[in-house]
Amino acid sequence: MPTINPMAWRLQISGTFLVIGLLIEAICLLSAKPIAFVLLVAIGGLFLFAGVTVYLFSIVSTPRS
């Protein structure tokens, strides 16, 4: 069974959060309804924040090889 590089694993988690956040943002931008504004800021913003945080955590927590 191949071992998973922790850095790569965290980048994948970060990327997944970011893709979800960006897709939510894209969908919300296509709609002019007030609920889209709330979803973009609350849900999309949360995923983007989580993705960037996981990425930053991954680069400061992984020891230099």
């Binding site: 980048l11 990327g15 960006l22 007030p34 960037v52």
Partner: protein
Amino acid sequence: MPSGTTLIVILVLFSAALIGVLVARPGVTATRGGKILAFLVLFFLPILCGAMGISSEMERSKTTAFCLSCHTMEAYGKSLYVDDPSHIPAAHFQNHRVPAEEACYTCHTDYAMFGTLKVKLDGLRHVYIYYLGTPPAPENIKLYEPYNNRECLHCHLGARSFEEGATHTADPATLPAIKSNQLSCLSSGCHDVVHDISHLKDAKFWKEKN
């Protein structure tokens, strides 16, 4: 959809695609160039897209179409087309005394410090009530506070029609009272016909020529 929003959507999708490549092949970040790419794609681009998206939505939330997209506001939107110059919102909207595409926001924002933030928080409350609560009937909607003259004076202060208007200058105490918000612009007998939605069915409407 405005062209600016289209560009943001394209940037967002492009960023998502780049991130997708990194998620599928995280090995590319092993090199120095890959690390720089990861920084751009996983940090810089999402923050840029998020900021641009929120900024775009903030601007869109000021538009008349945005406010009138809720069913509860339909009657208020209709009242902007009443063919009667004594109807203050209609006269302002039809004569472009306020930007027609931002008519609601221009009069109902708060021109004090943090006013935009305050009205956006009020807007979030409206969304909550609209989707999760029981929205009041359109005729029962009231302002949170009595309409402040500050919002009128934001444009009218210093204007000749306001400062030298016969009614405003007939009594020397009138103008100072208006300016200090002691006498409301919407007082009875003054500019008191605002969104008179309970009488909309009897009103005559202006048809905008395209």
